[in-house]
């Protein structure tokens, strides 16, 4: 399978490296606007055609699929052109700048029988796979809450705020793990420096009393990548910065027995062993791209398809509305 890659900035080189190393795929063209990035690409991959003209890649008859690794505001146009030229599309997250664009791309791909995959890389990590398995097996029991913190002194973006920059990671993971969709959302935050929120908080109300919360921050002195999940039977902490033992499952919880009235509630705390399951160690992006190649070959829709991308964009759109109204409840 022949790939063209548009964008060779921060993430593009990882896409190229993995596509090149896979057995069933190769990169034959890279488009990139920055001359210095083009130079780096050419030096590292003398055999690949490197150009400043994205259209060359989008229209090449030798190319089967295009990876769009550019800022979010360019996704729609590039992906659309690729699809119109009969190419499958692998596109960075967030999928598009709004839901209309996402829906249009999904429809276009469907009509053309082409595949879209949105780069929700985290779904392919050993940690998320293991958590998904634990949830499926009922290890946690009924879920109570999902609470994610993703903060550090991050790269300031000029075209999007911290929610659009960092929350897509958590939203795509949450979408994958919780399976149902949130009913309503509250987002708060503050702009301090360049006109975009650099600190933001989201609460998502799900059916059946499940609540999710996401804390993202570009101005934190320390890096935190921690998610807590509490369930009726067990609880879980995922600390993505731990070298080993990223996921810890706690045999802890609360049982409440209502005897005769509110003042007779019997609260029983449970506290048992902790257990850190071994996680798969394969590079997530490699697995994801290999899965994309498989989906195309076997004409299957990936789980992280355009619809998954759309679900994340829908939440971001609602969050933006809520943020603008300082936390107003927005129904989805």
């Amino acid at each position: 399978m022949n790939f063209g890659v548009i964008g060779y900035g921060y993430w593009g080189p990882n896409i190229v490296r993995n596509l090149t190393s896979l057995e069933d795929s190769q990169v034959i063209a890279i488009a990139e606007m920055s001359p210095s990035a083009r130079k780096r690409a050419q030096k590292a991959y003398p055999g690949i055609h490197v150009t400043s003209d994205a259209f060359e890649v989008l229209s090449s008859t030798k190319i089967d699929a295009v990876a769009v690794v550019t800022p979010v505001w360019t996704h729609y146009e590039l992906a659309k052109a690729a699809l119109e030229n009969g190419k499958h599309v692998f596109v960075e997250k967030p999928f598009t700048s709004n839901t209309e664009q996402a829906e249009e791309l999904i429809n276009l791909a469907q009509r053309k029988n082409l595949k879209i995959m949105v780069d929700h890389t985290f779904l392919f990590t050993g940690a998320v796979k293991k958590i998904s398995q634990l949830l499926d097996e009922g290890t946690l029991g009924k879920l109570y809450y999902y609470d994610a913190t993703r903060v550090n002194l991050g790269l300031f973006q000029h075209d999007i705020n911290v929610l659009w920059d960092l929350a897509p990671h958590d939203l795509s993971i949450m979408d994958y793990l919780i399976k149902t969709s949130p009913e309503a959302i509250v987002a708060t935050g503050q702009k301090h420096l360049n006109g975009h929120e650099d600190v933001a908080y989201m609460t998502l109300y799900f059916p059946e009393k499940v609540i999710a919360h996401i804390n993202v921050n570009w101005l934190s002195p320390v890096k935190v990548r921690t998610t807590l999940m509490g369930g009726e039977k067990r609880m879980l902490v995922w600390n993505d910065l731990e070298a080993d033992e990223k996921v810890k499952v706690y045999d802890k919880g609360v049982d409440i027995t209502n005897r005769e009235g509110v003042y007779e509630l019997l609260v029983n705390y449970r506290s048992g062993d902790m257990w850190a399951p071994q996680l798969e160690q394969i590079e997530a992006l490699r697995q994801e791209l290999s899965y994309f190649v498989d989906c195309i070959s076997s004409n299957r829709d990936p789980s992280n398809d355009g619809c998954a991308g759309l679900r994340v964009v829908k939440i971001l759109e609602a969050a933006t509305e809520s943020l603008g109204k300082r936390g107003a409840l927005v129904y989805l």
Copy 2:
């Protein structure tokens, strides 16, 4: 100074122990409803009068000041009776169940020239004192945000939710450190077990783009007591669970220079040394009670007086309203 203590449950024994060990104070009576707690009190302090009748303590002519260490819904009545009987009052946080009660107690104390101290113990810890000093000296520069997490598998309360249980710690600290009052508040959360929210989140909007956030949770498998503060010049992490190095100051930050337009913003990251100042090691509650005795003796108003207690209750009241409306913005 002769003290009466009402309530000898979880926290009361600490109050008695400290008042007993101070040079200028002694406890002469303890009132407690639970027979087993009375037995413990009597065994530990054979010289103190232990009774089941709070009125005995409130009306005793030998008593100068009363410590009210009971559930929040009893504070108003007990404190009122104590003040009416001419006694100074040390009362657990949160001060009262609503702002009206708080205001009435403040007025009553003023008329009687009596002191109220609300037990905002954290203000007397080495950590909060040091952070306060760093802020006063301008070490952090203009404050951007204050983000506190206080979660664990906590004692379920039957009469209040997790906000009223855990957030008063952070609200009293925030009130002490930030000095200005929040303008508006957004609170979200969920009830899973006994009719009270066990997971809750608050965002507080302060003047001049300062934003605060508080994450409280009774259903966390791990205990977290971490506060991040970001400022223009430096940033700070306070991890109260660290044995040493509870407060770390980071010489990190972001400088943004606007050259010619939004696409020309120059973002400069700064990253320098980290510094963990040595903290005072004296027991906070002992210092607080000693300060209370001093304030009474010298007829000074404590910084954690009824008005400080009222400010915290006002925020809790607004948060409760917001929580009931799933995150509606409530102005203060």
Copy 3:
């Protein structure tokens, strides 16, 4: 059972508090040389006779057992007097200053049918009990090594070096867990300040290729209390400073298959889940003293009897000899 306690310095108050709280024992006399410590004892326990004269305690006909909580160089004489006066003896670790003293006390107790317990408190912690159980059940498989680090900015002792001060903890734990005795010992170290080694290292050679190592240091800026144990089947880390999860069991190891020669060794690494068993939370000293009372009542020999104390002293004596010869191998 009536106890006399000799020594009310750092550890004595814990002994008195626990003996007092147990159902079947009480303290009726405390001997202590320091006037200020006597004052503290009298204030805390108005009902106990407090004296400066140890002989009063040792000879009192009302006393059944004596706890010797004094510096090591006084243990022999005080314990001997207690035994001669027909009293059971609970004595601080290390048991005595040398093996002759230990043997004499053991013989004396045996002749008089009295019990000796050496205060190897750690054997009664949830962590050591759990590790012992794991070893007994074969969870680790054949043991390869035991490696303990016990360092901090510790109290300088004037009469003993850091080995005699800190290593008895590890030696008593090791004696309890490994069960066989070391064959030979190598100790190294250095004196920097007051004529006693403040940094020291011991290697202990056990039968069947088991090796143990102990690192003790009074001059460390950070406190470390970590023990690694490696076995054929699994490995274990005990970090006594963790609030939760003190003991972690790793399903990790190395399998070596020798195919045809040394250059054909096949090394297979195993790496599986990690597991932190829940530990008992009861205060170790309380359990130990309750066990002592039981042993006396039922005329049983405690596991941490004089012989256990002697085994530790024997190693310390050999280590001292090795240390003096800068690491010479000393056989036991």
Copy 4:
């Protein structure tokens, strides 16, 4: 400057990548015995000549310097051939299998006016540079001890034991930081699996009461890379596994005043701030190779020259002797 690289196993690719990226150097030939490694090299660097014949590289007239990145038992022969062919030599640590070989290579290089650099990479890390600077500035005061732990479930070596595998890191760092040479050494350890010690401990006696200790272990379930250094004025912890704050300086210590006799020693503990200096972030190996190119160009002897390599080998040789005699003191 044209380089030939011999060995393209675990470390060789890093050497090639860095030499290739430097401005003043290029790799023109790689020799490697494993066909699969040769294939990887050829794919990654289509422009470099890849051969199975080391002699081709050693004798090529186009090559100025050779990097020997092979097992230690081959260093002597390969380095000797390189020097005899007039090439500068960059050689992996440990330098050689024994001191005679090291001395012969040093003499040969001197006669031919060629440079030898031993790959003591750690000397070029931000952490070691900063510690060196702190020592030079007297921040720690007179050094008391150096205590390094380097353990994990490591790659078993078939030709050397864990001391020769892991300790060269610490010995080269120690040699660089302490500056004086140890007078005597004690080493202990145990073989459990394949005939080589997999657990080992070294104590090094330096002049003026400085003591060093190294703990290396191939059978640890957890990775530890921690060095403690205690000085008269301050103490330091270097934890190389921390993402940030690898080096922490503690304003802690002990002052001892001798008043009238050993029982009148006044011990004063100091405890002040902790400080984590910012460290340089550049890749150490890149800096080291750039320094090697500079040394050759300017005809300077590198600090990590053959003599530094020899000092490390001398200690390893003494340690091997001590290990064989179960900890016998070996003078250097």
